[in-house]
């Protein structure tokens, strides 16, 4: 009996997930994880961190997901080379900062000085912030930010200087 019902239950679950209103959650097809897991993996694997600070119902997050994050190059570059973190700007989940302080997702916004979503934050494997980029960004923007971070340019110049300098 259980074996007969299982496919139906799975199909029902798939329908619920497919049609549930996941407004401006992280983009599909990316291995986003929680803050603490990402920091732990980043230190172990020496990978930079890409933090997507989004908000439930956020139009520009939705737009970025549909226009930019569907790009296969961006999916490959960011999935392969970064520890990906999604933080709900109004969420209450707990996370631990590199200092050892435990705060909530929403409080991370006040620490980051966030004033709009989406906000994209690039961090070293140790959790040091090297760039903060608010608002909708194109595929080319994300490719440029990736070269700034993984190319190590953040060690000698700001992101604005890097972008003005012809990349």
């Amino acid at each position: 009996m259980r074996l007969i019902l299982l496919p139906r239950a799975l199909a029902l679950l798939a329908m619920v997930l497919a049609f549930s209103p996941a407004w401006a959650d992280p983009p599909k097809g990316y291995p986003f994880t929680d803050f603490d897991t990402a920091l732990r993996h980043a230190r172990a694997d020496h990978k930079p961190i890409f933090l997507y600070f989004g908000r439930y119902g956020c139009a520009w997050c939705d737009h970025t997901n549909r226009v930019t994050f569907v790009n296969p190059d961006i999916r490959r570059i960011y999935s392969d080379n970064y520890e990906l973190v999604y933080v709900d700007a109004e969420g209450g989940k707990r996370l631990t900062l590199p200092s050892g302080e435990r705060i909530t997702e929403a409080d991370l916004g006040s620490r980051l000085g966030a004033f709009a979503t989406p906000l994209f934050v690039y961090m070293t494997p140790e959790g040091r912030i090297v760039a903060k980029v608010p608002g909708f960004k194109t595929v080319q923007d994300f490719k440029d930010f990736d070269r700034y971070v993984r190319g190590g340019y953040y060690k000698t110049q700001t992101l604005a200087q890097f972008l003005e300098g012809g990349k």
Partner: protein, 398 residues
């Protein structure tokens, strides 16, 4: 606010702003490197006053993991006396005043949502309101007794619950009439509830995601038994047009505060001006939350272009209403304050001198006694990142 220490002292001594004169701040817990204090009960209900005794709750990691603490200061005492509570890791402890110098506590720990009574003799036996959940809030009503609200996971979502708490002569608590705030099963998260009592009503507010974005919902009871169907308090618009991106702007972390008779204020952080972070919004009710007036921005225009955080409110039986939050309009984060003017509308913002200046002063929580005194708690953070938990009393200016 960036200012020199000398200037700060001169300003502080002379300034007592139009509304409150502030006493010197004190530390509530011993500051120590690597120890972080958090004042974050749902509705920011971390301070209460009963019969002159002050109660403050917070969480810190002095033992290596998060634990909950209560500090009590009797009217004739020189300082606070501290008590620990909760089992295992403990978060978001809240407090409510009960007559006679007693208090009720609510918290989240490894056993779920807990509650207990406390007085100068210590903390009474704990009861479990729910096996999982948190974001608890309490309110005492002279007419309907003690009530609690919290959120618990239910399937995919979190759901808001309320219950009456009966106080027995031996100080024990028992749960009565435990029910969801909305009888209809949730279709998305319900979060951060707060409960309040006016002269003749009980009222609740919470963050609700049923519309695809966060909206402040509320419900109220005029008889202590039947509650109005959940309805919007915040009027941040929901977009329902097919193909339009996003469902709406956000509203979060509501608090409710009675301020005399059946007057009730709802205060929250609101993202409807989406380019400049959250703003502090309020709605007022003349009938204890059964109906709400228009949404109004509580901060003044000097705070319009920057983000506000951690909004809280306090009121008294004389009709005084104060709202506090933190923002960095003067360069570094300070606590800011406004109040309801006698003719209506909110006053120009002031930074209470003890909670402003170099470094960071954030996360205010406050209460007001019936003489209009403001009891303010906040977190101070120095350049090294270490925190201090600070407390000061503001007395109404003559």
């Amino acid at each position: 606010m960036r200012q020199s220490p000398v200037l700060a002292l001169i300003f502080w001594a002379a300034a007592a702003h139009a509304q409150w004169e502030w006493g010197a701040p004190v530390d509530l817990a011993v500051p120590r490197a690597g120890v972080f204090h958090h004042v974050e009960a749902s509705g920011r209900r971390n301070v209460a006053v009963s019969a002159g005794t002050v109660a403050v709750t917070w969480e810190d990691n002095r033992t290596g993991s998060p634990h909950c603490y209560l500090a009590l200061k009797a009217p004739d005492a020189n300082g606070f006396r501290e008590y620990g509570f909760g089992q295992g890791e403990c978060y978001e402890p809240g407090v409510a005043a009960i007559p006679g110098g007693r208090f009720a506590l609510i918290w989240e720990d490894t056993h779920g949502v807990g509650a207990a009574l406390a007085d100068a003799g210590g903390i009474g036996p704990a009861i479990a309101l729910a096996p999982r959940g948190g974001e608890g809030s309490l309110a005492w009503s002279g007419k309907y007794g003690l009530h609690a609200a919290w959120s618990s996971p239910e399937g995919r979502w979190r759901r808001v619950w309320r219950a009456g708490l009966e106080i027995h002569p031996d100080g024990a608590l028992t749960v009565t009439d435990k029910r969801p705030a909305d009888a209809v099963p949730p279709v998305d998260d319900q979060l951060y509830p707060v409960v309040a009592a006016t002269a003749t009503t009980l009222a609740m507010a919470w963050e609700d995601r049923r519309n695809g974005h966060t909206v402040i919902y509320g419900s109220a009871s005029g008889d202590g038994r039947t509650w109005t169907p959940p309805a919007r308090i915040s009027t941040n618009r929901t977009v329902r047009v097919q193909g339009v991106l996003g469902r709406g702007l956000g509203a979060m972390r509501p608090t409710l505060v009675p301020y005399g008779g059946n007057r009730l204020a709802a205060v929250w952080l609101d993202k409807r001006d989406f380019l400049s972070g959250y703003d502090v919004f309020a709605a007022l009710s003349e009938n204890g939350g059964l109906a709400w007036g228009a949404n109004v921005k509580a901060q003044d225009s000097f705070g319009d272009n920057i983000a506000q955080w951690h909004a809280t409110a306090a009121g008294d039986s004389r009709g005084d209403l104060a709202i506090a939050w933190d923002d960095n309009r003067d360069g570094t984060p300070d606590v800011w304050l406004t109040w309801l003017k006698p003719g209506g509308g909110f006053a120009d913002n002031v930074a209470p001198p003890p909670a402003a200046g170099p470094g960071s002063q954030t996360d205010p929580a406050m209460t007001m006694d019936d003489a209009g005194r403001l009891y303010l708690v906040w977190v101070e953070r120095g350049a090294d990142g270490a925190t201090r938990l600070r407390f000061a009393v503001g007395r109404p200016s003559p």
